[in-house]
Symmetry: C2
Subunit: 183 residues, 2 copies
Amino acid sequence: MATSRTKATDADIVLRVLRRTRQIRDFRPEPVPDELLNEILEVGRWTGSAKNRQPARFVLIRDRARLDRLAELAPTARHLSRAAAGIAIVMPGENEEWDAYDEGRVAERLLVGANALDLGAGIGWATPSARAAVADLLGVTPPAFVRTFVSIGYPSEAAMAPKSAPGTARRPLADVVRYERFG
Amino acid sequence: MATSRTKATDADIVLRVLRRTRQIRDFRPEPVPDELLNEILEVGRWTGSAKNRQPARFVLIRDRARLDRLAELAPTARHLSRAAAGIAIVMPGENEEWDAYDEGRVAERLLVGANALDLGAGIGWATPSARAAVADLLGVTPPAFVRTFVSIGYPSEAAMAPKSAPGTARRPLADVVRYERFG
């Protein structure tokens, strides 16, 4: 698309990463350098939040036995067992609505940051029934809690293969956008 | 920082945008080309969601009177009155936790997308007491609802000026990261 905007190339690079970023849940076994994990954590640190509370804390987990145990406790985060590292997001538990919203914001930014570094990342949740055991394992004291795990690693070939023909799994723009009024 | 990773330049470009993206609430009066608004909506469309529900719908608002009215109804989104356009995010209202989390994810990606295009964007909420009036104005039928408005425009000079010395408004990494265990 021809545009007159400045820095078209930089914008295109960022938009491409934003569009290609999707959940990766299968990883190659190689480790991820600490330097890259730190860059992802920096991205998390700079994520905005309601009233600039900066409510999120991050537990970086690289210990294999701990990752495996968390994968058992939180079935939708079982990809932790194949990940080089995991980030548990600790939220304060003071306001359910703000916590969920701000946690979604920061989780999303971690995903995009990992993708920018040619890593893969996947979001998994500790469902409510698992949260006490997860909190115990990670030393998190209520009302603070962990809902989100972000698995990080180099994507496996299988994870990178397209799962469906382009366009079939995603609603078209005309389905999701309205103008001036919704209905 | 010296690294051996490939495409370091592309990664650095994306990480720079991720780090610099913050809320912009004051805008120059010039309009934003529809083409750029469409690129931002495409970024929204491709945002992931729990169980791939793709629950978010977007109402793009460019009508000045409508933006002004929404700014009155939703005081934390009063920046709509200075924005070239606004996006109202319509969520299904079926699961409070999932809705808030997925809405945070998509709002965050819209912010980053706008920044990538050298635009500014700010998040505002319709608080619960305003939601009935907002839904009525936008033709949204319960249980669907609008909580988030994203204002979009070219940042004013005042909005781009740093508000505080670097580092004073943001917690340092050592405050927000733990290793293996939180406490």
